[in-house]
Symmetry: C2
Subunit: 169 residues, 2 copies
């Protein structure tokens, strides 16, 4: 279900909030996961997700409107559509990889049920973030969020000045 909310996050300046507005809702993210694995047809999505058809239809249309999927009719009689990832939908894959890595690290006490594997070597991969400009791994010590050129006052307040940092073990 689309959750009720009191604030529209796409009005927020923060790119994280804007991303969440498009996808911060489980079914969309799981549909994107399945699409990245090659699923395109309505019945395939439904079988994989066990989602009610009307909810699936609504989600797929919303994703089409948000430019994540493109709908293509592949059969006229009966009428059947498939949903193809756009460049924007495919660009979401790092978010899924990061969720996978975090889930495998913290919520898989019985072992990994899904692994990312290096197809050349067969070895299990460990996804991590790096900076494509400098080539260096991203740590929150060496890299910082800063207000960008289009920042408004709220963004400057949130991202401008470093605050106290503490961490538990």
């Amino acid at each position: 279900m689309i959750p009720m909310r009191h604030k529209r996050f796409d009005k927020m300046e923060c790119p994280i909030a804007r991303s969440l507005e498009r996808v911060g809702e489980w079914w969309t993210i799981l549909i994107l996961r399945d699409a990245l694995l090659g699923t395109t047809r309505f019945d395939e999505f439904q079988k994989s997700l066990e989602i009610a058809p009307n909810i699936l239809t609504r989600r797929l249309r919303a994703m089409e409107e948000a430019g994540l999927l493109q709908r293509r009719r592949y059969s006229e009689r009966p009428p059947r559509d498939e949903y193809i990832l756009t460049r924007r939908g495919r660009d979401f894959s790092p978010v899924l990889l990061a969720l996978l890595a975090w889930g495998n690290k913290h919520f898989a006490p019985e072992g990994e049920s899904v692994s990312l594997v290096d197809a050349r070597t067969g070895l299990t991969a460990v996804p991590a973030m790096y900076d494509a400009v400098s080539g260096r791994p991203i740590t929150m010590r060496d890299f910082q969020f800063r207000p960008g050129p289009a920042a408004n006052e709220r963004i400057h307040r949130r991202y401008g000045a470093p605050k106290r940092e503490r961490e538990t073990k």
Copy 2:
């Protein structure tokens, strides 16, 4: 608000679904964002997010239960708590970076309002995924999802066999 849902994703085997069960809801992700920027105190979170206090309290307690934050009382009179990121909460940062990069690429036509910056050089960073084992950038061509050691039948069906792949421009 916590959306009503018909399925509990943490019963699913998929680590992405399990991660979503913990955080796939806007406020949690935005609280984590603010916590990573150094916010710890209730009133600071509330001012930044403009969230109703009872909802914030509920979210913070849920995050504490999920092991993302640890609550610490820093004042007795009046009673005041701060919320410190745990290792698990801090490990979520690649997801936020990936959301930031995607938001900046696709939903910031007016320019970046928040950038990730290399603190050594001042240059804007471009977050991307690499494999910490091989050191190579992750592409969905060279790396694949595969069922892991703890995979059940559903996971094998979803991740086992490659399907058709198509992409629009």
